[in-house]
Subunit: 352 residues, 2 copies
């Protein structure tokens, strides 16, 4: 029997509530499709930070390394600064495991409420492919003349040929598997005149290898506007770390699914484990009430199965989510229902 | 009689068509409210670049310097690269005249079509205040190891204390003049960890001087999502050069007014002239057809009058635009009508 080793990190807040539901559905899929999941749980979180002074133990990365995938809930809690919680757990995993693709589906699911007028599921169905290791999220920068009128800070955006090419290639390969076969590049080469023209150059170069793929590019300002005005234009959208970050929140917002969006941090070569997490955060305001929507977590689980080669199981989970929503199955408050986190998880698991 | 000296640069494409309508309305306002406009026309554009090899003559900035304001149409034309057209005209004016505030109203005008469901004029009425001289649009950067696998580019974002403080102050002062008195800061300090935490610091510092102003801040990714989901949350939004650029396209897009949005590049101390331009570009696809919507240009003219101290005239122009739209006055194709550029300009000028 096929076996996959999964490191499970529920993390903080509602992550602790949605992760079990994600696992419930994964377990159902494993039984139905005949594979095994070997789970190892890690309680790394802001809570353990409060006790130990560390988000993860010193050998944390080593322990994760042997898993096939990492299944993450959410990280972050009020009182713990981002440079501790995020830069002590989330960002090092993305970077040290070279998860250079952050992949986020933007899809209008049946029954989910888009803020846009007159848009249906056929209008919004695209992927954002985000560079996930370099670019604007850089570790080179600093401050000079602190406390004086000349004080300034600077930070370098860094884009490497290797870094650009591999993520752009991923976007083209993804487009090849889709019906419309179109890749849109997010740029800002009219204003940011050293890094972004280089991005454009690498994009144009890669496009030559894929004559069957249609391409276009927009500056990030007007691209954000187009996401709202013409979401139907997009199939696969590729962007730098920052632009991808922005577009992969805006895309789900436009689709009315920001509370339920899924994401994958992928190392396509499988040299290191990839990581799967919902787009939403730890949501301190509703944590502990067991009303959080587990769909983002469950959907992320489906992306994990796809990465692990269990495509049939992955498709089944996504189809089940869509079917239950369309049929008026149980839904949490954010989707206008009354169900709790566990109700929704159970309904999906049973249907799978 | 009060006199204002205006440098007029129609620029390229539809800029040549909308600028005369802007001037027509300004002229009507001058007669009604009793001031004089002394106009100097400059034909600087991509066309003159084709003839002379320069977007503006060597003494261009000197010539503009003595005007009270600059009234710009649009810059850019296919075949002329951005680093020539934009960096040869638009960006140097913004920067050398220290127009450090880029101000853009985001307003749902009556009768304009927002892509959002169930939103009316009372829901969308805020300003984006964008830093306009530093930040991500920097002139420090370069490329190493060209043509090899180690090739990389880098570009420094630079934020100075002076640069942050003055634009953030402007946002607070603007909020003080408004009913809701609220300033929202756009940040990304969880990912961009040298420059953005400094921005947050300066924002928090400035807020102390304005106890009567409510503040909040969001990371740019979720802020973009909120623009779509909750445009009614915002009153004044302040951001860096790049974040302000993104938000000031997204805001008008959400309000359904991206084709008619206005903008002001302001040097608040009036050491140098300020510049007023519509948000739309030169629109090569419809240039020459005289069907472009002149409202963005006319609205920019109103912002110019306000800057010149003619507040009554400015308010009158904006109110007239809103009234004509509400009453079903002539409108161009983008707003579902049949009128030409000149028809709309004339209607507004007459009503003023
Ligand atoms: C043309 C471009 C350089 C410019 C900018 O990004 O500043 C434009 O998008 C704007 O917002 O005025
Ligand atoms: C928490 C933050 C650093 C992170 C990012 O910007 O990468 C988040 O917004 C995301 O998109 O996963």
């Amino acid at each position: 029997q096929r076996k996959h080793r999964i490191a499970v990190i529920p993390g903080d807040g509602i992550g602790k509530e949605t992760t079990p539901e994600g696992l419930r559905v994964l377990d159902a899929a494993a039984r139905r499709f005949g594979f095994e999941l070997e789970l190892t749980h890690y309680d790394w979180s802001c809570e353990t930070y409060a006790q130990t002074g560390k988000m993860m133990p010193d050998d944390g990365m080593d322990r994760l390394k042997d898993s096939d995938s990492i299944f993450l809930g959410a990280v972050g809690w009020p009182g713990v600064p981002d440079h501790v919680s995020l830069w002590g757990l989330l960002i090092p995993i993305r970077r040290q495991f070279d998860q250079y693709v952050n992949l986020r589906p933007c899809k209008l699911l049946p029954g989910s409420k888009t803020p846009l007028a007159n848009r249906g599921p056929e209008d919004i169905d695209f992927y954002v492919v985000r560079e996930n290791t370099e670019g604007e999220y850089s570790s080179i920068g600093g401050r000079m003349f602190p406390g004086t009128d000349r004080e300034f800070v600077s930070q370098q955006t860094v884009m490497t040929r290797i870094g650009c090419d591999r993520v752009i290639k991923y976007a083209f390969e993804l487009a090849m598997t889709r019906k419309r076969k179109k890749v849109t590049s997010a740029t800002k080469s009219n204003g940011i005149t050293f890094t972004m023209p280089y991005w454009d150059e690498r994009f144009a170069e890669m496009a030559k290898n894929y004559p069957g793929v249609t391409t276009d590019q927009f500056h990030i300002d007007i691209l954000c506007a187009h996401f709202v005005q013409h979401p139907d234009w997009f199939d696969v959208v590729v962007g730098s770390n920052l632009f991808g970050d922005i577009l992969s929140d805006l895309g789900p917002a436009v689709a009315g699914s920001i509370g339920i969006a899924a994401s994958a941090n992928i190392n396509p070569e499988k040299t290191f484990p990839s990581m799967f997490e919902p787009v939403h955060g730890s949501a301190p305001d509703i944590a502990g009430k067991w009303i959080a929507n587990p769909i983002g977590q469950i959907w992320s689980g489906a992306m994990m199965l796809e990465h692990l080669g269990e495509k049939e199981a992955a498709d089944c989970i996504v189809a089940t989510i869509e079917r239950l929503l369309a049929e008026g199955g149980p839904r949490t408050r954010d989707m206008g229902g009354q169900a709790g986190t566990v109700d929704v998880g159970k309904a999906i698991a049973e249907a799978v």
